[in-house]
Subunit: 387 residues, 4 copies
């Protein structure tokens, strides 16, 4: 048996009736792009988890051409039709025409969303997901903006790590990430909001879980997708400055601190370039070293100032707690300090319920039920402050 | 832009390290096939909804080569890893290598199930889904049989029609069918059972919803997949006699009658070949015509006898009710009559709860919540009779 | 210490301000009496479980004078204020003033219901609960009838036996009966209906659980409260013919059969007067003796005819199943036979879900959760047939 | 009709068989007293909500003699048999024999708890509930202590105000208070803990909701039941110093701050004796006046020190949030400040979920569902810190 025999060159082409027309995404009149990205549409790069293209498609059959690339971690997508998740699949390397729907009533408008189900992959310089074109037999109609805009900034929790898959799973692979089952998507849905997510597993405010001071969200907040590296991503515009004027959130939810806590409990990290070693220390009695905790608080404070600078009107909510409450006092102090220093009163802290044994997901991370609970709590809270 | 440009010839081939070996499915030592099919494995045809291949795969990367064909209704698959659903996708026409997992710990055994998510398509002679081969870098381990075997015989409800998708959906297309979210799969999971499903949307015991007397499950019960037609399916063995000795269920659940009720409320059907017209009639007061209802009961009676002939030991449960209770008295009478005539006491009737507004799914069919409720009820009932 | 010292003669009399006026119940202009009873109000006898007096009381303080009597089984009451259960207490022998509320805003109307929480006690000729008078500082306003009337006829399940109390409880005492937590009350509430209950623990259609043929509900259906005996109850009017014209239900729910099934599995009963022995027999293989099962069916048939004679317009629903489904086929046959013989099409059968380990209550009877589930199912069903 | 006619002098005395023996509570060998009270047992005064007497009673019939007194607010009791709530009733003024159970198997031990269902009534100097004696035909067996002791300190939330009764209720009366449905009791049950509650509706840390600085829990923490006043309560020992050595909790849950927040939003309070006026002020922009908020924080700080002084080993958890989160930052600051000043690390803050429209109870207070949710959250949290 020969591998070269196995891929049909038809690739579903039987489905291509005469009416199916290919259009580059850049030529599509009505497409809504979700997630922070550049202005480029030829192709469109989807960087962050939850990034998506959305169509109101009046026609019977729709395909989308995607291109995936990676060295280690492949992208996955979820497909939502009229807000219901109906498909989820790995996108293997290369360019693929993916059929979104076929055989439907041509006179009915379908709302379609193709969502990047995995986070930006800072550890894989080759990872990318691009949308090139559509193949369609109908017309695209305008898509209204939701009345509310939310921005989520977080770590593995916000990346939906473990929100899908069996509890026993231990491998760190894209399959266990979900942009659909996580609390951010659920909260946005419950509040009828558009939303964007900036998240990196293992990263924190000051350092990552393993004390690496470069792996923090604040430093790359002003770039399109700062955690990425490599020539390919640079070429895609990931490292360009983000145009904050283009999309101003009503609420920014920061769900960080879990990995900053981890740093206190894990080994030191040594910068091989400089030989310098970094470590958030514990006291002998297991409590946090005050200086190191103070460094976290100072970093949180600075991050709040950076958020405010770029988002003058947004309510900022630091929501924390699904994997332990250890940093909550420090987060309260940081918010207090920032608020006192700046006079900014539109910032608050909200505790999210811990995952329990009953709501555990894959990789010891919150499962879908834990995300559902967090979303319900956060939704109630945001409703309260948005009145 | 030229369509021919768009499909990469790489097809994820970067992923094919030297260790990935292609084996025809027929050469795989340990594979468990779910669902009624022929003995052929080169390729394996998956006919009925819920049909599947299952592996215990110890290795880091696994691909499966599928071939889909159809004139109208494409197949879909769901992928379960360690029993958790992680992927669901349309399989477009042609042969495709689908990556099931990659990048996983090579020393850990993964239980993998690739499930046909849509029913056998009696209205599309060209519809088929075949499994040709696997590409794997590890070894396959044996898969134990579950201690219990269930067989489900039903219509659209058992095919999971509407168990996925938005409530607003009206198109009759494969996308809204689910073999994972339906009550049959959930019941089997809850009882730790292997199971098979024989189901056809719109079909009944005596006639289909539109009075067509050929569209009934009993007549084709003894074939591998009798609802299918066309030379292709015949060539795949769909119409061959089923070897009942190869798989004897402990329980047969019959969920039929919903479309027989429909026949009373829909227009007559005329056999164009003979000019004969068929119609289950209502009385003027809206009640069932007694003769026609009797014909249904007689058909149900005969079906029970046929089930018993082929499954001497099975408990037979007629489970009915998710879309109305109208035929329940007639079903009770039929079971009574069969039981009295045969002396067979291993047959009973169980009422399933009606779908409510809160549990409605797509196409006015039971949604995932309705299936979950039915599964919970049926599981409790089967536990009771299997003691 | 002397027992005579212990009861204060004040009996809360400090609360009796000048404004509190005593009125015999017979003199109260607006009182709604629930439950089948006589026309007498001086005093009012509450016989069946769920029987109640209801007031719309505009005033600040309300007391009710109750009189309890019994040889073995004392009555209990529940108190509902604006439909919320707020009190539940034993009523010990004698006449007592029970304070229903005090200290409330005199200008607001309170809907008040004082409910007999235990069934008529056929084994205790001395058991009675009477309402004599009220003590009130305000005015009683009219109470509207609900748009729907339900009648429930049943056994211990309908009496709410075990719906309150710990799972471990085994004593047959009034404390474990609830007229509030049972499915009948919950169904009536969900449907916004007035309702009456006729129920006796251990009784059936043909015989009781222990084969006593006198302990059946059909024989006493046409009396006010036929299960009762003794001179005291006779004097209260329990054995008088019921005036069906006074209250015609829209739906009659019959939940009987559980004890008829029990009779097959329990010892024979001998009528000491005649020496005759009664026993519903099992075959050697554990199945029902056909003649005896036929006798049950005939009795069910006759009961349906009696119900119809007295309630010409009511929908009759035989709802069965919370403690096993064994008699369901026989019930279906009986309903079929009755319906065929009479032409009556307003009668149907509805299966109620079995209690599970998770919903078990006291005395191995359905607990509050099982009643809640049954009520939800029955409510959905009744909504369907009442459209 | 004459009021004097209506109370039977039998008072259930028919039930008093020869075997029923009256014993003063002080003479009962095994009785467990719950709730902070004095050492006196002749009679025993139950002050705080959730205070109770508990018996392991092996016998068939048990009565308890209670004495209630009040000017405005009457006591209520709940009765639990084998941990299931089976009775709840108002106790009107005077001495009453209340039958707890009768007719039970004399050989079985019943665990019985008679619980004061309403808080200590600081506004009613005449309010008291005393337990004088029991009447029993069996023997009392020892009652083991639970492995964990919890102390709850709170306001109306902890008093279970509104946890029972219809949403529409507005009157401030004892009927709407529940010691059984509230989060404190539920948490203790879930953790298998003994517990005590000190709570007063409307009271806070620094002032009450209406700015009265005397209505705070800290000032009276070291007395048996400091909120009470009047000669009668003094005579009962309410104002005596509490003997902390007699009962040391493992965890103290402080749920205060809700009324301190209220003080900022309500009118000033004037001390009529001194003419001095008290008011927690808001700034013009609606934010808290910094000095006044600081006064709250200082009071919270001092309260923590007082708790620690009297409970050297207890974990202290400030749990707050069921009626808004406004004071949470200030509570965090106070706990921080106390912890820093004292070096005490066994104190933490835990946010409880806000009541929602779906969980609202009577008097705009958390209903039973809100208490259940809070208890579930708090239980998870306490499990985490008690590991």
């Amino acid at each position: 048996m020969n591998a070269n025999d196995h891929t049909s060159d038809r690739d579903g082409r039987r489905d291509w009736g005469d009416k199916l027309t290919i259009r580059a995404l850049s030529e599509v009149d009505h497409v809504k792009v979700h997630g922070r990205t550049t202005a480029r549409r030829d192709p469109l790069a989807l960087f962050w988890t939850g990034s998506a293209v959305e169509f109101n498609a009046k026609g019977s059959e729709l395909w989308v051409e995607l291109e995936a690339d990676y060295d280690s971690y492949e992208p996955w997508i979820s497909i939502l039709i009229n807000s219901a998740p109906v498909g989820r699949q790995m996108v293997t390397a290369g360019r693929h025409w993916v059929c979104i729907f076929r055989g439907m009533n041509a006179d009915v408008v379908k709302n379609v969303r193709i969502v990047k189900d995995v986070q930006a992959m800072s550890d894989d310089g080759g990872h990318s997901l691009k949308v090139h074109a559509v193949r369609f037999d109908g017309e695209f109609l305008p898509i209204e903006d939701k009345p509310l805009k939310l921005e989520f900034i977080g770590d593995s929790i916000t990346s939906g790590e473990g929100a899908i898959g069996a509890i026993a799973e231990l491998d760190w692979i894209p399959m266990w990430f979900s942009a659909v089952d996580n609390y951010a998507c659920r909260t946005a849905t419950a509040l009828n909001a558009d939303y964007r997510t900036l998240s990196q597993s293992g990263w924190g405010v000051l350092t990552s879980w393993d004390n690496n001071p470069r792996r923090n969200l604040p430093d790359c907040y002003e770039q399109v997708c700062g955690p990425l590296s490599g020539a390919k991503n640079e070429e895609l515009g990931a490292l360009e400055p983000h145009d904050f004027a283009s999309w101003q959130p009503d609420v920014i939810v920061v769900n960080l601190g879990t990995n900053d806590n981890g740093a206190f409990h894990n080994a030191a990290w040594t910068d091989e370039a400089t030989g310098r070693t970094y470590k958030q220390r514990l006291n002998e009695d297991g409590s946090f070293n005050e200086d190191d905790l103070g460094a976290f608080e100072a970093a949180a404070c600075r991050f709040l100032a950076k958020l405010r600078k770029n988002n003058p009107q947004a309510r900022i909510v630091w929501a924390y707690g699904m994997l332990g409450y250890a940093m909550l006092p420090a987060i309260y102090r940081a918010v207090d300090a920032y608020s006192k220093a700046s006079g900014d009163k539109k910032v608050s802290v909200f505790q999210l319920s811990n995952m329990t044994e009953a709501t555990r997901g894959a990789r010891s991370h919150p499962g879908a039920l834990a995300h559902a609970k967090a979303a319900e709590e956060l939704t109630d809270y945001l409703k309260g402050i948005l009145v």
